[in-house]
Amino acid sequence: MNTKKEFKSPVGGAIVDPAKQSMMLAALYIAQEQNGYLTKEAVQQVAKRLGMTPGDVYSTASFYSLFRMKPVGRYVIQVCEGISCYLNDGAERVADYVSEKLGIKLGETTRDGMFTLETVQCLASCGTAPAMRVNDQLYENLSPAIIDDILERLMGEV
C-alpha cells in the first residue's frame, strides 16, 4: 500500500515525496541567487520546504559544481577556457590579465568581496572568442582594453 502519510520520528528518518524531490534543483538555483552561494540556512530552508533532510539537499547541491557552498564575490568572473577561446588569443592570457589586475588567483575572491575569479569550460561563444561571463552577463571578443573597461565600470557601480 502506498501511504502518503508523512513520516516523522524522534529518531530521524524521512520518507521522501518524489514530486517534491524533483523540485530540488530549481529550488537550489533560486536559493543560490539570493546570496550568490548556498548558505547553510538556505539548504535547511530548501530541505524544510521539500520535506527532506538537509543532508539530502546538501548531498545533491554539493554534487553539482555550479552550486557554490562557499561565499563568493559580488561579481563572479568566469573566464572561458574552452578550445576556441584557448586558441583565439589564449584564454590563459585573459585569465592571467584579470588575475593580475585584481590581485587574486583562480578560485579566489578579492579582499573587498567584489570579485571572484574562476574558469569555466565553454560559454558557447566560440564565434566571438575569447569570452568571459560576469554573473549573468556575457562579454565577447575580449582584449585587455575591453577587460579594463568592464572591470572599471563594475568597480564604479558600487
Partner: protein, 833 residues
C-alpha cells in the same frame, strides 16, 4: 539453475546468484570492498575482478555484477585478473594514508589485508594525497574520512538498508565525502554497524578506540541481553574489561547487524561502581562468610516462621542456569516459587504468548524479512526490540505491507499503516481486521455497512472513520498475502491480545498454509522466566503485600532490581525495610544492592558464559569471554599491572549466580544433585517438558528452538475487553513505555547511552495538546499519585488521542505513579513557565 565452473570446480546455483556469491559457496572468497551480502552489488571498488574464460562473458569482469550463468568458466587466479586486482589496490592506496599504526582499524582492516595480500609495498605515485575534514558524528562513531576508499557501504547501509537519511554521500568524483550535513550525533540507532561494515578505518568504535588491536583481545561469541531478540555478538575483552562488542552473523536471528543499544550497552560489566565484594550489613566480607551467614539467617527464619516466610525474586535478565537453579532451590526448600514478574498482568501476557508458539507458526527475526504482510500489534519495535524495526524494513523494501496497531507514536524508518487506537480498543480493532480479512468477497459490503452502524467498538475516537477505512484497505491486502507475519508485543497490550493474535495466526496457517507468529517479550530471558515461572498468577506485587503484612520476612533477589519497573518506589522501599533479611545477588550497583542486608556479587554473561532463550524460543549460548576481575584500568591508577604474582584475581570474587545458589543450598545443608555443578542446565531440563533436551548436553543445543510441534495454546479469554476502559470524557491514559536508549536496565549504566538518551518527553496527540493549551517544547509538571515529574511536551499527530506516552527513563522518577496503569485528569498537567 545455472551450472558453472569456478577455478576448475563445478557448482550449480540458483538463478540470479552473482558469481562472487557462487564462488563463496565453493569456499573461494574473492576479494571485495564494496560488495556485501546484505547490501548487494554496486561495482564501486572493482576489487572483485575475475577472468571469464568461457561463456557469455569474456575477459576480466566484476564478479559481483555478473549473474552466474550456464557454461561459464571462471578463473579467480588468472594472471590478468590478479594483476588487475593488484592495480586496484595501488589505485585505492594513492589517497589512503600510510599510517596503519595510528589507525584504530589496523589489524582488522580489509584494505590493510588486501594491500598486504596483493603485494603492494612500494609507493610509485609521488603526488599529494587527497584530504578531508572529519566530522563529529556523536558519541558512538569516530570519523576519519581521509581513509575512505569510496565503497559506498556506509551510505548503502545507512540510507537504503536502515532507512535513515542524515548520513550520506556528498560532492562528486574524487571528492566524494561521506558524512552529515553538519556535525552531530547520528540519528540512526543502528549506526554502530558502520564500524563493522567499513572496509577501512573511516568509521571506528569511539568508546573502544585505541583500547587494543584485534589480536590483543580475548574474543568469543556472546549474546546481546538488552532486549528479548537475542542478537548474536562477539565480545572483545582486554585487561579484564570488555572493550568492544561486534555483531556476529546468525542467519536465523540478527543477520549481519545489531543495534546501538546492544553494541554500546555493555559497560555495566566494567563499571568502577560494580559491586565486586560480598557484604554483610554494609561491611565487606568474604563470599564464603556471606553465603554461610545468609544460610544461617534463612534457616533461622524458616525455622521460626515457616518456609513461606521466604520469597524469591528471580530475573528475566538472568541466564537459564540461574533461573533453573533458583527454581530448584525453592522446590527443595519448599519455599514459594520465585517471581519473575512484578506485574501479574505482564506475567499472564508473557505466559500466554509463550503458550501460543509452536514450530509451525513461530518465525525467526530473519524470516520476518521475507513476509509480504506484517501486522504488528502493541509493539514499538525501535523501543522494545530495535532490530525488529530493521527486519520489518527489509520486508517493506520488498513491497510488504506493514500495519501497526498501537497507541504510541511508533517511529519506524519506513512508511507503514498506523492504526493509532488506545489500548482498550486494540482488541476491537484487531478483531475487526481479522473478521474483515477472513470474510469471503460477497459478504464484504454487507459487513462494512454493519461495521459503519456499529459505533460501540471505537468509543470517543474521532479518528474512527479513518481507522475503519484503513482496516477495510488492509483487510483486502491481508487476504491477498501469501506469507503474513503477525507480531505482537506484551508490554502495553490488553491481557487477551497475545492469545487473540496467536489464535489468528494458527487459523491463518490452516487457511493459507503459511503464517508467521512473532512475539516481543520483556527482557532477554523472558521466555525462560515464562516457562519456569509458577503456573499461577502470583507476581512480585503480591509478595510486596505479603511483606507488608509481615508474612514474608526474607527476600532473595537474584539479579533483579524491582526498583527499575515497580511503579511505587516509596512503597517498595518501605516494604523492603520491613524485611528481616534481604539477600541480593547481582552484578550492577542497583538500589537493591544498597538496601541488601547480605549481598553476594555475581558475574556477568561475559565472565560466566550462559544460556538464554530468546523470544522465539531459541536456545542460545554465550561463551565466557574473559575471567572477570577488576579492570586493570581501575587499578594502580591505570598503570602497569603489578609485577608480583598474588593469589587470586583482584576483584574476581563474583561467581555465577547459579553457582552461588548451589553454595547457598550447601549452607542450608541441602544436597544439590551431583552433575548440576558441571551442567546446571540438567536441573532446568526437568523443570519443563520443552527443556528436556538440555538434560545431557547443552553445547549441541545452541540455536535450537524449544518449541512444541503443536502449541497447547492458552485459550482466548472469553472477555476480550481489557479491564482498563476508556474512562470518563476528560481522562487521559498514561502509558509507561520502553525507549531505545535510557529505559533499558543494563544499558543505562553505560555513559555513552546516557549521553544519547535525550530529554524525557511526554508524547500526546496534537488535539489533546491543543485542548490543554500546550505546544511542542513546552515543559510540564505532571502530578502523579506520589509526586510530580517534569517533562517536555511532544505533540504528535500519529498517536491515539486520549493517551499520554511516557518512556520509563531512570531520570524521570516515573515510579511516582504508584500503579502499573494510570489515568490522569487534565488538571494534573501543569504548564511550566
Amino acid at each position: 539453475m545455472p551450472n558453472l565452473i569456478i577455478d576448475d570446480l563445478p557448482i550449480e546455483v540458483p538463478a540470479g546468484t552473482k558469481v562472487i556469491e557462487a564462488a563463496e559457496q565453493l569456499g573461494i572468497i574473492i576479494p571485495r570492498f564494496c560488495y556485501h551480502k546484505a547490501l548487494g552489488s554496486v561495482g564501486a571498488c572493482r576489487m572483485c575482478a575475475v577472468k571469464f574464460l568461457q561463456g557469455p562473458f569474456k575477459g576480466v569482469q566484476m564478479s559481483c555484477l555478473i549473474d552466474a550463468q550456464d557454461g561459464m568458466v571462471v578463473s579467480t587466479t588468472d594472471e590478468e585478473a590478479v594483476a588487475f586486482r593488484k592495480f586496484i589496490i595501488e589505485l585505492l592506496m594513492l589517497n589512503h594514508p600510510h599510517d596503519c599504526p595510528v589507525c584504530d582499524e589496523g589489524g582488522q582492516c580489509l584494505l590493510q589485508d588486501m594491500t598486504v595480500a596483493g603485494g603492494h609495498s612500494l609507493r610509485r605515485y609521488l603526488g599529494r594525497k587527497r584530504t578531508y575534514r572529519d566530522q563529529n558524528l556523536g558519541v558512538f562513531i569516530a570519523h576519519e574520512m581521509n581513509r575512505c576508499i569510496h565503497c559506498y557501504r556506509c551510505s548503502r547501509f545507512y540510507q537504503e538498508f536502515a532507512g535513515y537519511r542524515d548520513l550520506g554521500p556528498t560532492q562528486i568524483a574524487n571528492r566524494v565525502y561521506f558524512g552529515r550535513f553538519e556535525d552531530g550525533q547520528l540519528e540512526s540507532p543502528f549506526s554502530g554497524n558502520l564500524v563493522d561494515l567499513c572496509p577501512t578505518g573511516v568509521y571506528t568504535d569511539k568508546p573502544a578506540r585505541f583500547q587494543g588491536r584485534r589480536w590483543d583481545f580475548e574474543r568469543l561469541p556472546s549474546l546481546c541481553i538488552h532486549c528479548s531478540l537475542g542478537c548474536n555478538t562477539i565480545a572483545n575483552a582486554r585487561y579484564r574489561a570488555v572493550v568492544r562488542v561486534e555483531a556476529r552473523f546468525n542467519d536465523a536471528v540478527n543477520g549481519f547487524f545489531i543495534c546501538d543499544r546492544g553494541r554500546f550497552g555493555f559497560p555495566y560489566t566494567n563499571q568502577p561502581e560494580r559491586p565486586r565484594q560480598a557484604r554483610i550489613d554494609g561491611n565487606e566480607s568474604s563470599l564464603e562468610d556471606a553465603v554461610a551467614g545468609a544460610g544461617r539467617k534463612l534457616a533461622d527464619i524458616a525455622h521460626r516462621a515457616g518456609p513461606n516466610a521466604i520469597a524469591c525474586l528471580g530475573s528475566r535478565r538472568s541466564s537459564l542456569e540461574t533461573q533453573g537453579l533458583l527454581n530448584h532451590l525453592c522446590q527443595l526448600m519448599q519455599w514459594a516459587e520465585p517471581d519473575y514478574f512484578l506485574d501479574p498482568l505482564l506475567k499472564k501476557k508473557v505466559k500466554s504468548a509463550i503458550s501460543q508458539l509452536d514450530s509451525r507458526v513461530a518465525v525467526s527475526l530473519r524470516q520476518v524479512e521475507t513476509a509480504d504482510f506484517i501486522l504488528a500489534v502493541g509493539v514499538d519495535p525501535l523501543g522494545e526490540a530495535p532490530m525488529l524495526a530493521l527486519a520489518m524494513r527489509q520486508a517493506q523494501r520488498k513491497e510488504a505491507t506493514v500495519a501497526v496497531i498501537d497507541p504510541r507514536p511508533v517511529p519506524l524508518p519506513f512508511s507503514f499503516e498506523h492504526l493509532a487506537v488506545p489500548t482498550w480498543e486494540m482488541n476491537g480493532c484487531l478483531k475487526l481486521l481479522m473478521e474483515e480479512a477472513m470474510r469471503k468477497e460477497d459478504e464484504k459490503s454487507a459487513a462494512r455497512d454493519r461495521m459503519a452502524a456499529e459505533e460501540g467498538w471505537l468509543r470517543n475516537n474521532p479518528a474512527s472513520a479513518e481507522i475503519r477505512r484503513q482496516i477495510a484497505q488492509l483487510a483486502a491486502l491481508f487476504q491477498a498475502s501469501r506469507n503474513p507475519v503477525l507480531i505482537c508485543g506484551t508490554d502495553i497490550v490488553p491481557e487477551a491480545t497475545p492469545a487473540v493474535v496467536g489464535a489468528w495466526a494458527r487459523s491463518l496457517l490452516e487457511e493459507k498454509g503459511k503464517c508467521g507468529l512473532f512475539y516481543v517479550l520483556p527482557d532477554a530471558n523472558a521466555f525462560g522466566a515464562g516457562l519456569l515461572g509458577a503456573a499461577n498468577d502470583h507476581a512480585f506485587l503480591e509478595t510486596v503485600g505479603a511483606i507488608e503484612r509481615g508474612e514474608v520476612r526474607a527476600l532473595i533477589a537474584v539479579e533483579s532490581d524491582p526498583f527499575e519497573r515497580f511503579p511505587d518506589r516509596s512503597r517498595l522501599e518501605q516494604a523492603l525495610a520491613k524485611l528481616e533479611l534481604l539477600l541480593v545477588l547481582d552484578y550492577v550497583p542497583s538500589p537493591m544492592v544498597q538496601q541488601a542486608h547480605i549481598f553476594l556479587p555475581t558475574s556477568t554473561l561475559f565472565e560466566t558464559g550462559s544460556t538464554f532463550i530468546n523470544q522465539e524460543g531459541r536456545i542460545q549460548i554465550a561463551q565466557p569471554v574473559y575471567h572477570g576481575g577488576t579492570p586493570l584500568s581501575q587499578m594502580n591508577g591505570g598503570g602497569h599491572p603489578p609485577r608480583v604474582y598474588a593469589g587470586g584475581l583482584p576483584g574476581g570474587e563474583p561467581k555465577p549466580a547459579w553457582q552461588l545458589l548451589i553454595d547457598l543450598a550447601g549452607a542450608l545443608s541441602l544436597a544439590i544433585e551431583t552433575g548440576a555443578v558441571e551442567n546446571p542446565l540438567s536441573l532446568v531440563a526437568s523443570a519443563h517438558p520443552l527443556l528436556a533436551g538440555l538434560k545431557n548436553t547443552s553445547s549441541l543445543l545452541d540455536g535450537v528452538r524449544c518449541l512444541p510441534d503443536v502449541a497447547d495454546a492458552e485459550p482466548v479469554p472469553a472477555d476480550m475487553d481489557p479491564a482498563v476502559g476508556p474512562g470518563t470524557e476528560n481522562e487521559l491514559q498514561l502509558l509507561f513505555v520502553d525507549s531505545i536508549f535510557g529505559a533499558e536496565e543494563l544499558s543505562q549504566y553505560a555513559d555513552v547511552i546516557r549521553q544519547v538518551e535525550g530529554e524525557p518527553c511526554l508524547y500526546m496527540h496534537t488535539q489533546d495538546a491543543e485542548r490543554l493549551g500546550l505546544v511542542e517544547g513546552d515543559r510540564v509538571l505532571l502530578t502523579l499519585d506520589a509526586g510530580a515529574i517534569e517533562a517536555r511536551v511532544c505533540p504528535s499527530q500519529s498517536m491515539a488521542p486520549g493517551t499520554l506516552v511516557l518512556p520509563r527513563r531512570r531520570k524521570l522518577e516515573w515510579q511516582k505513579a504508584k500503579s502499573f496503569s494510570t489515568r490522569v485528569t487534565p488538571d494534573r498537567i501543569e504548564k511550566l513557565k
